[in-house]
């Protein structure tokens, strides 16, 4: 049984008459011990999806879903209080900008102990001892003195470590990491990713890794969901998605990695921008930007099609889904259906 099962999740903002769908009909499953990457450019709905899962979307935002099952519990049927009991204990989240994600008015120790005391029911002394253990677990030097440090006294990498310690305080079953390394120096990025993955394996957590850094996903993730304008356009496994992307958007995303443009004068780009609230195409959301678009692409939105490739094993084929009428073949050309 999967740890998390999301089916047909939608998040809307704005008026009910002209709503803006930040997330549209998203399906996602995550199992224990699995790392799932969610990839997409800014505004593609990656973070909103996770905030919706945690129930952190405020009115006037509206969340709807067919199924939202976490660890056998139906989160849609839960009261706010029941949901809060899970948040921070079974589902934890770390964010992009660790420096601003820690409360500047309280010490690291206070913020760590807060979670421990709330969910673990620990006494003041026990919480402090456990907080120290946690800081040592995330390899913070001089952990004891850091307990009484304020966030502004920490470096970016250090505060992300504190965030990780805080997230792991109650041994969550699912960790959502929203661009955990984006705000950090390149050297620190690698350290933090390494730490995250090793902790994920130690604790056998499900890890959802939201990022726009494809290299990170290629390195650590088991599966990938590529999002575009609030929709999943391709789900696949690693490394299949990197070898043979099936969706034109995924292909363009991979082509945009600077290393792939070596020798070229300009980096490869996909012209145009993600559609906003008022210019969402009727058909395929990528159609206006897609180099392979056909007339039918503009007519109706394609669903997620299963994709069978003879070169893949059954397992890989089972995971592979593409939201495209003419998914790309092994040679990277659109197939003609």
């Amino acid at each position: 049984m999967s740890l998390l099962e999301i089916r047909n999740l939608s998040v809307e903002f704005g008026s009910t008459v002209h709503p803006f769908r930040a997330v549209d009909g998203l399906d996602l499953t995550v199992s224990r011990g699995e790392i799932v990457g969610i990839v997409g450019e800014s505004g593609s709905g990656k973070s909103v999806t996770m905030l919706a899962l945690m129930g952190l979307i405020d009115a006037p935002g509206r969340v709807s879903a067919e199924r939202l099952i976490f660890d056998g519990q139906d989160m849609l049927a839960m009261s706010a209080r029941q949901r809060r009991a899970i948040l921070g204990r079974d589902i934890a989240m770390i964010f992009q900008d660790a420096l601003t994600s820690l409360n500047p008015a309280y010490t690291v120790g206070f913020q760590l102990c807060e979670t421990l005391r709330l969910h673990g029911g620990l006494s003041r002394g026990d919480a402090r001892r456990r907080a120290l253990e946690l800081l040592e677990m995330v390899e913070i030097p001089a952990a004891r003195s850091r307990l009484d440090a304020y966030p502004h006294q920490l470096s970016g990498g250090m505060s992300q470590r504190v965030m990780i310690a805080m997230a792991l305080a109650c041994n969550p079953k699912l960790l959502i990491a929203d661009e955990p390394t984006t705000a950090l120096d390149v050297t620190v990025q690698a350290q933090i990713m390494e730490l995250l993955v090793s902790l994920q394996q130690q604790h056998d957590m499900g890890l959802i890794l939201i990022t726009h850094d494809l290299a990170v996903v290629a390195e650590v993730a088991d599966r990938v969901a590529v999002m575009y304008a609030g929709e999943v356009v391709e789900t696949s496994s690693v490394p299949a998605i990197f070898d043979t992307p099936r969706h034109p958007y995924t292909q363009a995303l991979l082509a945009a990695i600077p290393e792939h443009s070596k020798g070229a004068e300009r980096l490869a780009t996909l012209p145009g921008v993600v559609p906003g609230q008022y210019d969402r195409p009727h058909g395929c959301l990528l159609a206006p930007r897609c180099p392979y678009a056909k007339p039918r692409c503009a007519e109706a939105r394609p669903p997620l099609f299963p994709f069978i490739s003879e070169g893949y094993t059954q397992e890989i084929n089972d995971l592979l889904k593409v939201r495209c009428y003419t998914p790309l073949s092994d040679s990277g050309e659109p197939s003609h259906v």
């Binding site: 009991a85 899970i86 948040l87 964010f95 994600s101 500047p104 008015a105 969910h119 304020y150």
Partner: protein, 336 residues
Amino acid sequence: MFGFVLRRLAVVIPTFLGITLLAFALIHMIPGDPVLLLVGERNLDPEFYKAAMHRLGLDQPLYLQYWHYLSGLLQGDLGTSIRTHEPVVKEFFTLFPATVELSLAAMLFATPLGLVAGVVAATRRGTVVDHGVMGAALTGYSMPIFWWGLMLIMLFSVHLGWTPVSGRIALEYDIEAKTGFMLIDTLLSDEEGAFLSALHHLVLPAIVLGTIPLAVIARMTRSAMLEVLREDYIRTARAKGLSRLRIIVVHALRNALMPVVTVIGLQVGTLLAGAVLTETIFSWPGVGKWLIDAIGQRDYPSVQGGILLIGTMIILVNLLVDVLYGVINPRIRHAR
């Protein structure tokens, strides 16, 4: 922390000098002089006038007068009142507790209420509650104090008879001024019912004086809270599964307090200015009323001394606010 206070104190000295110069210049700019106002123009003997002006040192050039005033100040001498021949300091501090008591009561009324109103409005942003609170705050802020005071007296004292019209305590009580604070003095005395009477007299003036600070604090708290509630660490707190109340009070309010404390500090100035009006309406024997009388009589030393002392109070309160920043915000405390 000590160095922090010292550095703040160093800034105070030029401010202090500025106040003396301004107070001196302004009061001397008003036409008329104390002798003229005491004796009256009609039966003024020029010889007597000359002698009196000489005795008061008012026949000297202004820069010399200012110099004498300053050198007196440095020796801790604020001068003697021309009207009563009492030292200005003594007069001031006899009346000052009444003003402080009133101001404290006003802030005690305004601060908690303003914080709660601001927080409630911020957390219910855009709702009827928010609009109601902010509308009331705007009304309160725009209210002319003397009009507001008179309206409240009409309603509560005249029509409903709930509160007394003026003064600090009912006439039947004779309270010895040990501290100058009526609420404390009545508790120290063994007169029964005196404390309640004093409290009774304090309520309405405190509400009148506290109205503007209340409105300002409520508006400031609301906007500060709205800003803080958008911060990343609030999202973190929510992701921890904390209750809404804990997020608002522990995580948001603490950070939102910074600008609010600034405003509360600034309100002390407004409060003392407002006290002049409020004390006049309610015949409250404080420094506000005393200062108005002193200006009317061109009692130069009293006016200069009074303004200087009030200015000092405001400086001290702002210093206290600066120190409080350090307490609230660890980033300031650690800045070197």
